[in-house]
């Protein structure tokens, strides 16, 4: 699958929501924990060797499951392959919890659900559709029940 790597690299250089040095293990046979810089930018998690400016890789955070594992450790896996886990060991349990919370909210799908929720609540309370002002009230993606095709 082709993709615009140049733009993704550019995105990796943007200011991050969250960044930290952690130990990371990829779901490959024989892989071990390695020191990495991880950086959350929009719905991507980039990971770098600590002394390099360009990331080794990126994880798109849609349809993923963030799991708190043992102490200081969390994992990211994807719905179609739940056993393949990317593991991250943080410096502290607190840092670990922060990352779990941040990553759970990092997807575009999460924001879409939030938007639909707030829209519904505001509509119930005020009788007005708050999306009218943005001119996007008619768009399918913001409806309460997404039509299944």
């Amino acid at each position: 699958m082709r993709y615009n790597e140049r733009e993704l690299l550019s995105l990796a250089r943007q200011p991050a929501e969250k960044a930290a040095e952690v130990l990371m293990r990829v779901p490959k046979k024989g892989s071990v924990l390695k020191k990495r810089l991880v950086k959350l930018v929009v719905n991507f998690l980039f990971y770098f060797r600590t002394d390099e400016a360009e990331p080794i890789g990126a994880l798109l955070l849609e349809h993923c499951r963030i799991t708190k594992e043992e102490e200081n450790v969390f994992s990211i896996s994807f719905v179609e392959e739940p056993e393949r886990k990317y593991c991250f060991e943080c410096a502290s349990e607190e840092q670990c919890q922060e990352w779990v919370e941040a990553l759970k909210r990092a997807s575009y799908e999460f924001m879409r659900r939030s938007l639909i929720f707030y829209r519904n609540e505001i509509q119930k309370m005020t009788g007005k559709d708050p999306l009218e002002q943005f001119g996007i009230s008619g768009e399918a993606r913001f409806q309460l029940a997404a039509p299944k095709h």
Binding site: M1, R2, Y3, N4, E5, R6, E7, L8, L9, S10, L11, Q14, E17, V42, N43, E54, P55, I56, G57, A58, L59, L60, E62, H63, C64, F78, V79, E80, E81, E101, A102, K104, R105, Y108, E109, F110, M111, R112, S114, L115, F117, Y118, R119, E121, I122, K124, M125, T126, G127, P130, L131, F134, I136, E139, A140, R141, A146, P147, K148, H149
Partner: protein
């Protein structure tokens, strides 16, 4: 740079809602070494926009996308290209090539340009934050609208099981809804709208409406619910003369009735213990 391509491709083809789909012709530049010119041709592909990602497939039924355009940081503009209904996705980077796409007609082109311009993560985040604020304000003004509540029998005949007399103050702790996602929204401590309810979830916690102020109708008897023709401008009405306030009260009552009705139906189902 590595990318979790298998998962990305799966996201493209799974049945999560697409924000926009359709056929577009994509300009393909081919370079000829011997001839010093580029030939321009167009390839018709099936495009699927999901969030800030634009996928394209060879055919509508293809199981895997041919390609992906990450849309963060892009601008979308109409094209002065030779083709009618052409538009371009461009990136800030001077060296970056633009994606020139051609729609089937004016309406299709406009719809795509509109959808793509609003596809960025930041745009979505902006809208969500704005709505968060609006909900907060709606809660506050609803609370302010309430006159001093009187827990009298002025509303007899209605079960007051939701007996909280006031809206709870805004909570700092995020509300955890199903699927393990929380509604704490922005990381800047924006807080959760305290008045938020989640009536769509079974057993979800529904914030009670504020107690209604005493109402005196012409007949002197109490009404179970506000009549649609109730005029907020009645001179001896203790209800605030602001229509906006009334409509809020009206929807709060409606909400409570919905909850009551649902609970009644559930009790019916359980065979009335």
């Amino acid at each position: 740079m590595k990318l979790n391509e298998r998962s990305v491709a799966h996201y493209a083809t799974c049945d999560s809602p697409a924000d926009h789909t359709g056929f577009l012709r994509k300009r393909v530049e081919r370079h000829h070494h011997h001839a010093h010119h580029h030939t321009t041709s167009y390839q018709r592909c099936w495009f699927v926009l999901k969030g800030n990602l634009l996928f394209y497939f060879e055919e509508r039924e293809s199981r895997e996308p041919v390609g992906l355009v990450v849309l963060e940081g892009c601008t979308v503009e109409l094209c002065e290209a030779a083709e009618e209904f052409a538009f371009a996705i461009r990136f800030d980077d001077a060296g970056a090539r633009a994606y020139v796409l051609v729609a089937d007609g004016q309406a299709a082109m406009e719809a795509w340009v509109k959808a793509l311009s609003r596809a960025s993560f930041d745009y979505m985040r902006l809208v969500v934050r704005e709505l968060e604020k609006q909900l907060e304000e709606a809660c506050k003004s609803l609370a302010a609208c309430r006159k001093s509540p009187q827990r009298s029998s002025s509303s007899s005949g209605r079960k007051r099981h939701l007996s909280n007399p006031a809206l709870l103050p805004l909570q700092e702790k995020p509300v955890i809804l199903e699927n393990g996602y929380s509604m704490s929204g922005s990381s800047g401590g924006g807080g959760t709208p305290g008045g938020a309810a989640c009536p769509d979830r079974d057993g979800g916690y529904v914030k009670p409406p504020p107690l209604p102020p005493r109402r005196r109708s012409a007949a002197g008897s109490t009404t179970g619910s506000p009549t649609p023709g109730f005029s907020p401008a009645m001179p001896d009405s203790p209800v605030s003369p602001e229509t906006a306030c009334f409509s809020k009260l009206h929807s709060w009552y409606g909400q409570e009735i919905t909850v009551l009705r649902r609970e009644w139906q559930e009790r019916q189902k359980r065979g009335h213990p």
